[in-house]
Amino acid sequence: MQTKQVFEGVKIVLFSWGAVASQAARELALHGATMIRVESHRTPDAIRFSSPFKDGKPGVNRGPLSTTFHTNGYNISCDLSKPKGREVARKLVEWADILGDSFTPGILAKFGLDYESVRKIKPRIIYYSTCQQGQYGPYAKIGGLGVQGAAGAGFYYITGWPDRDPAMIQGAYTDFVAPWFLAVPLVAALIRQRRTGEGFYLDESQYEASIHFLAPAVLDYSANGRVAGRQGNHHPAAVPHNAYQCMGNDRWVAIAVTTDAEWEALCRAIGRLELAHDPRYATLLARKEHEEELDALVSGWSRNYTAEEAMLVMQAAGVPAGVTSTCQDLLEDPQYKHRGRFVTLHHKEIGPMIYRSPAYRLSKTPARLVKPGPCLGEDNEYIYKEVLGYSDDEVTDMLAEGVITTEYDAPGVKRS
């Protein structure tokens, strides 16, 4: 018999698009919460149109972005612009413990789903809004995707090399920083709701959350007037410290020597023990003066080994080192396999695909990945009838009226 999951019985409704509102809720869904996302074929979540796609063929249900962030969740299609659609939304508000919103500020208010309206229907609801720059302020209504968030929140400026323009981090970085900051007070508010029956409102600016990952640079500017720039891979207190090219196509190992003992260990490992106590390199200060030379020394060694071999030689010697993993490496990573990071689930249109487990394992109540994030409207039958209590006739009517949207309502699709 399986133990009860932590959030079994907790009900979450999402009026959301994108990666942040969903990922915050997903952590609860992976531990047993029921999560329903409300979407419309007329205005599907924009990220459904972003690649990658199964076989490279676009489709609203064919990409990981359409499903990954909604693992264990349900999806219903509903046109909120219709009065009957708003009645459905109201029923979901009555049902839910938590409501998640990630639209541009003001959008949900048009459907009577702003916090003030919702709390009148369900005073105990926990309502969280998340968007790029928060619910108010001069830039609040500027839309953007996570990539713009990462740019605007300062992350690209500090990525790359001192002699180069800023480089990108492939991926919408702040979309994968902000959700965790949101989930912390969300669970705290849930505990409080359990104890007191009181509701709560959270307003996340993804910038404001993500900037905590730049906190040392914030204080450095405030106290010292220094603007953090791009530094490449060097470290003020560790030499050698860089990524070194290995055998093969674009294969690298990151090596970091943080103590003189590690320096000696590295020298022994690469068969150059005499360098350990060479006055040019024996101390950190000395190594700093010869940093370029030492980078060349280490890469002269590493290019004769695969990245994995180089890492294991260094680790055996007690020197911090790691392959700069590609996605292929990650899927084959033995440590990830040990932890069961990637679980294969079968999606209706994509077929089998990996889904990610949380980065933390609870010893008594681990997460369970049970179903892939659903297709648009996939759970209409179950949710409208079993959860919301509509009759078969009512559902038929709602389909006919377009309150429940179908793929025929998608932009550009002609109804026959």
Partner: protein, 424 residues
């Protein structure tokens, strides 16, 4: 309006014993910010994380580390050597009235001291032990030596960062341990909810290696489906495609008159087309559209587009943006639905209007320095029971008296003895 209030937060009433080093400090910071009483437990003489720069006025000193300040604001601080028998006794006493123990020691270290989860559970069945390590408590990499950069590398983000003709790169503010720390805070909260239901604690086994991997969006899934690994793209956004066409690179970072902007000018779903058309329209108004003058964004099919065609499309964008300032671009973006953002520096952020309008930056007093320093404020705003950025990080042993004498009732003579033996 400041975020300050006295003692009332979402996590008021909970106590955290924070044994973590740089690998886990952010976890305790989060819990402290939301109102928990977080006691940073340092070895006598001070935690090694106090030696991490940058430093106030560039003076390296354990009471001047800006890194330490940022990650330990709103915590109290005691010194304690848990490797001594007396130290462990005191620690066990503290565990009795604690809700969380957060640590980032090598797997097995706490067990070796008789302070593993099984022992802590006997002292306090509700204790939540959050263990934040580079790779987790067990497995082939569990005992690997690590630094922030090597975890960033193994977690896949280093390969995805930087310029293609240079090595994979880290950010100049190292990120990997922050990822571990925030997932540690999240896992701690999930365990706390379980405790609400049952009265039981548990161990939360956090891997920074896994936390970092989340940041790559869906590149892992993309590889699973298409067997294409994306790589560091330079100022471009890479799109994986199966087969012969290879990865499509779309330039997204552009130099502008006063810095750099990130702008999406591409086809695809509705929002993208609106953005692209708005940029093209702007260029047409100034007679600068070039190849884009007659381009129909409806025909943009990233699945079939060659790299050469994409480069023709974006060629006029590069000189065009150079003639515009960040402000002009953002004003137009707000009006016309262009997906754009300036590549702001930390200075731009701290001086810009949005974060200041929201009172995001908080002045924290540092009486020992005779100064105040600006800190990031609430990561999430809550009108009731708000986040606090209020009090500077503790000095070494600052709350020894409060905790040992007043709370635990240890006599002054005993404390002197413990101090001279290096236990506290």
């Amino acid at each position: 309006m400041s975020e300050q209030r006295n003692g009332e937060g979402l996590l008021s009433g909970y106590r955290v014993l924070d044994l973590a080093d740089e690998k886990g400090l952010l976890c305790g910071r989060m819990l402290a910010g939301w109102g928990a009483d977080v006691i940073k437990v340092e070895r006598p003489g001070g935690d090694p994380a106090r030696n991490i720069g940058p430093f106030y006025k560039d003076i390296p000193h354990p009471e001047r580390s800006l890194f330490w300040f940022a990650l330990n604001a709103d915590k109290r601080g005691i010194t304690l050597d848990i490797e001594t028998a007396d130290g462990r006794d005191i620690f066990r006493r503290l565990v009795k009235t604690a809700d969380f123990v957060v640590e980032s020691f090598a797997p097995g270290y706490m067990e070796g001291l008789g302070l593993g989860y099984r022992e802590l559970e006997k002292i306090n069945p509700g204790i939540i032990l959050t263990s934040i390590t580079p790779f987790g408590q067990s497995g082939p990499y569990a005992q690997f030596k690590a630094t922030d950069m090597t975890v960033w590398a193994l977690g896949g983000m280093m390969y995805l960062s930087g310029d293609p003709d240079r090595p994979p790169v880290q950010l100049s503010v190292p990120q990997a341990y922050f990822h571990g720390g925030i997932h540690g805070a999240l896992g701690s909260m999930v365990a706390l909810y379980y405790r609400e239901l049952t009265g039981e604690g548990q161990q939360v086994d956090v891997s920074a290696h896994e936390a970092v991997d989340f940041a790559n969006m869906v590149e892992d899934e993309g590889y699973d489906l298409l067997k294409v690994s994306l790589a560091r793209p330079g100022p471009f956004w890479g799109l994986a495609r199966p087969g012969q066409l290879g990865i499509l690179y779309e330039r997204v970072n552009f130099e502008c008159k006063d810095g750099y902007v990130n702008v999406f000018v591409k086809g695809g779903g509705a929002g993208y087309k609106t953005s692209a058309r708005a940029v093209t329209q702007w260029m047409k108004e100034e007679g600068k559209a070039g190849y884009l003058e007659t381009y129909d964004w409806d025909t943009y099919d990233f699945g079939k587009l060659t790299l050469e065609e994409r480069q023709r499309l974006e060629a006029p964008l590069v000189p065009f943006f150079k003639t515009k300032t960040k402000r002009e671009i953002m004003a137009r973006a707000a009006r016309e639905g262009i997906f754009a953002a300036p590549l702001d520096s930390v200075k731009d952020l701290m001086e810009g209007p949005q974060l200041n309008a929201r009172d995001y930056w908080v002045k924290v007093e540092h009486p020992e320095l005779g100064d105040t320093i600006l800190y990031p404020g609430a990561p999430v705003k809550a009108a009731v029971l708000p986040w606090r950025t209020q009090r500077r990080a503790p000095l070494i042993g600052e709350h020894n008296d409060e905790v040992y004498r007043r709370e635990l009732g240890l006599s002054p003579e005993l404390l002197v003895a413990l101090k001279s033996r290096g236990v506290i």
